[in-house]
Amino acid sequence: MIELKHLRKEFEDTTPLKDVNLTINDGDVIAVIGPSGTGKSTLLRCINLLEEPTSGEIIVNGEVINSKDCDINEVRKKMGMVFQSFNLFGHLTVIENIMNPQITLLGKGRQESYDKAMDLLHKVGLASKALNYPDELSGGQQQRIAIARTLAMDPDIILFDEPTSALDPSMIGEVQSVIGMLAKTGRTMVIVTHEMDFARKISNRVLFLDEGGIYEDGSPKQIFEHPQKPKTQTFINRLSSLEYAMNYEDFDIEQVAEDLQSYAEKHLIESERTSKVQLAVEGIVMNNLLEMDIEPKIIVRIVYSEKKDLLTLTILYSGQHWDINSSSNILFLSLLKEPTTEVMDERLEIPEDGCNNKIVINFKWQEVE
């Protein structure tokens, strides 16, 4: 069991963790999520004292590990860590990377540690690479070996610091499946990650970090489907879609363009389609709706469906209905007529989110002929 009491960590210019209180039970698989810069990694690195907390207590199995009497090296032997950048020892072969810590730290014999290492290499599917050097392997392979190295120490607790962030998308899967396998073995695991699907699948508890501490703590279902607090909600929603709800005057087209750009990059949407969406938003919201002399509410939502390869722009607004074909923007009108664009423009009988008008435009991938 790990307990954090009033944990505070200050750096010279920031204080990522102000007052963290947390109890991690044995066998918990905890995913730590949150916007960048909220101290997720710092929290993890405090648990094995790679970062010395400014104040507060860290108690592992009843022992205060950040007190002077505690031999931190003994604690660390039972607490593995997997890093974002793998950190395999460059001068040692794969097999030695897994063997040497066992020999040096656990006092095992060479044969015994070799057998254990080979067993683990088989488990992570890399037995054939035993005599290779780390720099001869792909990122995904290196990370699997780093996990095997950690496992060779038979740790009770494993800390994962963004284990897939430095990997090509094609390699994320192999590493995630190894971690998934581990999660079923009953070890306590704390995983800092940006992969939400992975976090949801693997964990039994999710911590959302913000405002210098644990902002929301709950089951994966709660955090991902029914987040209780506003920042969690915004964070979770932003991940799957872009949504803006505001008054006409506040509408910031620059912000939309910027968000759209990063959203497109994340979901690998080609830039042609992204600029079409932007043109549509400008055409509808900026040139037409904003010119109407009313003060209603407007909601812009952009969603990308990977399965259908469909980028959908939904605009909801209240007040009088406006026919999009009456737009004066020629570029916008020609966009609507393109074969890859599907347009729905309707008045709603039952208002949705307080709006009674709805425009839906689907952008399909343009086939090359």
Binding site: N48, L50, N73, E74, R76, K77, M79, G80, M81, F83, S85, F86, N87, L88, F89, G90, H91, L92, T93, I95, E96, N100, P101, T104, L105, R110, Q111, Y114, M118, A127, L131, Y133, A146, R149, T150, M153
Partner: protein, 505 residues
């Protein structure tokens, strides 16, 4: 093919330069004709004071040994040089092409500087008395005739007699490469100065210890107490004020020397043969080269070893970034690396260990140990700094202690970065040791000076010296390269990696 061309080219250059040594003729007859010319004089003898008024437009070049002045004259770097008649007599024996101007430039008395110390006054009284007596008894005249008037480098020799080991030690600074006053035959020091001091010691019950140091060092080193006697000092007004000088123990004229025509009828090849014989065979001079090489290797290896250890220790202490320790280490690093090596050595020899009896060889080892420790420290800083922080974190997170992490993870990786630099620094160290002659160490370079001062020829001594340095550097570099390969983790065989494992799949 390319290599062969390079070798041929090098050989041609060498032969051409060898031939060049036998050229240039001067028609100067009178001292006044030398006005406006370039004239050489030995550093610290102050002979030029005697003639400066007569030839005010002459420019003066200062050389460390008389031998260098001959070489400078023969390679036309200077038009004439000024030397005491005695020295010229010795030089003329081997260099018939040299000619002195008939008119003497002046007459100079030579004295002994008496070093600082409790015994300074007593020594001064005793030596003055001895000088007076030997002038009266005719001993002075007799010695002068033997060493100067009838000078014959093949025969003139004075063997240093045995002394009572319990007798008070008298440390004597001599030039060591200065015929006929102090020079080496078969590795033992002899000459006018040597005989004079030995006779004095016999008479007054001292035990002389001679140390050859560069001429310009004799006066300052004796004055600050490093030596009791400094030989062959010209008493200028300035010197009489700052140091304690004996009466003149001999005096002679100083003369200008120019180059003249002289054909000995010996062919070039034959000349080469003769000078080879002079440089290596005669008086077993090759043994001196062997001895000098040994000293150079000793200083190099000892400094390498101690310097590596010291640099390593300092790095270990400073590794954790303690501000105070780093400040101290940084200061010494800055001090030692910022100083020319020769200055550092002289400070160690004359100032810090000025009154200790530590030999020059040990002081060189101390000096180069400090210098190499600084290199080692820098190498470790750069090498270990190049290892990513992740490597340290990963090892610490596994439970490695700080020490285990450093020795098992960081250092083996850093070694791959800094060993090539280590090799370079080692080669520069070997080359830099060539200056230890400044503090009375008979290393390879100093030996070649000694030999050149006897043969009055530069060619073979210098070439041989260069070749020996190349060989030593080559061998040491090779050893380091082997180590480099040996400790390169990536060059290990499968058996080595899986050492101690019976079954593998």
């Amino acid at each position: 093919m390319k290599k062969l061309l390079v070798i041929l080219l090098a050989l041609a250059t060498v032969l051409a330069s060898f031939a060049c040594c036998f050229a240039a003729v001067s028609s100067v007859e009178k001292i006044d004709e030398l006005d406006g010319k370039k004239i050489a004089v030995q550093t610290a003898v102050a002979y030029e004071d005697a003639v400066k008024d007569r030839i005010p437009k002459a420019t003066w070049d200062y050389y460390t040994t008389p031998n260098d002045m001959i070489l400078a004259l023969e390679s036309n770097k200077i038009d004439a040089y000024l030397i005491e008649e005695v020295g010229f007599a010795a030089q003329h024996y081997s260099h018939k092409e040299l000619r002195r101007l008939d008119e003497a430039a002046g007459s100079i008395g030579f004295a002994i500087t008496i070093g600082k110390g409790d015994n300074q006054n007593r020594l001064l009284l005793e030596v003055n008395k001895f000088i007076e007596e030997s002038k009266a008894s005719g001993l002075s005249k007799q010695m002068y005739d033997y060493w100067v008037t009838n000078w014959n480098p093949e025969e003139c020799f004075y063997a240093i007699p045995d002394y009572d080991p319990k007798a008070e030690e008298l440390r004597v600074a001599v030039e060591g490469a200065y015929e006929p006053f102090s020079f080496e035959v078969d590795g033992s020091l002899t000459g006018f100065d040597v005989e004079f001091v030995c006779r004095f010691c016999k008479e007054y019950g001292y035990r002389p210890v001679f140390e050859p140091i560069p001429f310009d060092q004799i006066s300052p080193a004796t004055e600050n107490g490093k030596y009791n006697f400094g030989m062959n000092i010209v008493a200028t007004d300035e010197r009489t004020e700052s140091s304690v000088l004996s009466e003149d123990y001999y005096s002679c004229d100083i003369v200008f020397v120019v180059e003249d025509v002289y054909d000995d009828g010996i062919g070039l090849l034959e000349k080469i043969g003769i000078s080879f014989d002079k440089t290596f065979i005669k008086e077993n001079r090759w043994k001196m080269f062997v001895e000098g090489t040994g000293v150079t290797i000793l200083i190099t290896l000892a400094s390498l070893l101690f310097g590596t250890l010291l640099g390593f220790l300092v790095y270990l202490v400073c590794r954790h970034g303690n501000k105070f320790l780093n400040g101290v280490a940084g200061f010494f690093n800055w001090l030692i690396e910022g100083m020319p090596t020769v200055v550092l050595l002289m400070i160690l020899f004359y100032v810090i260990f000025g009154s200790s009896k530590l030999s020059g060889t040990w002081i060189s080892i101390i000096g180069f140990t400090l210098i190499f420790a600084c290199c080692m420290f820098d190498m470790l800083c750069v090498g270990c700094g190049a290892i990513s922080k992740g490597q340290i974190e990963a090892s610490r997170a596994l439970g490695y202690t700080d020490r285990e992490s450093f020795f098992k993870i960081i250092l083996p990786q850093a070694a791959r970065h800094f060993l090539p630099i280590y090799k370079n620094d080692m080669v520069s160290l070997i080359k830099e040791t060539s200056i230890v002659g400044y503090i009375a160490v008979r290393d390879l370079t100093k030996i070649s000076d000694f030999v050149r001062s006897r043969t009055y020829e530069a060619f073979f001594a210098l070439i041989a010296t260069a070749i020996i340095y190349f060989v030593v550097e080559g061998v040491l570099s090779f050893v380091i390269s082997r180590i480099q390969i040996k400790i390169d983790p990536k060059r290990r065989s499968k058996d080595k990696i899986l050492d101690g494992i019976e079954q593998w799949d």
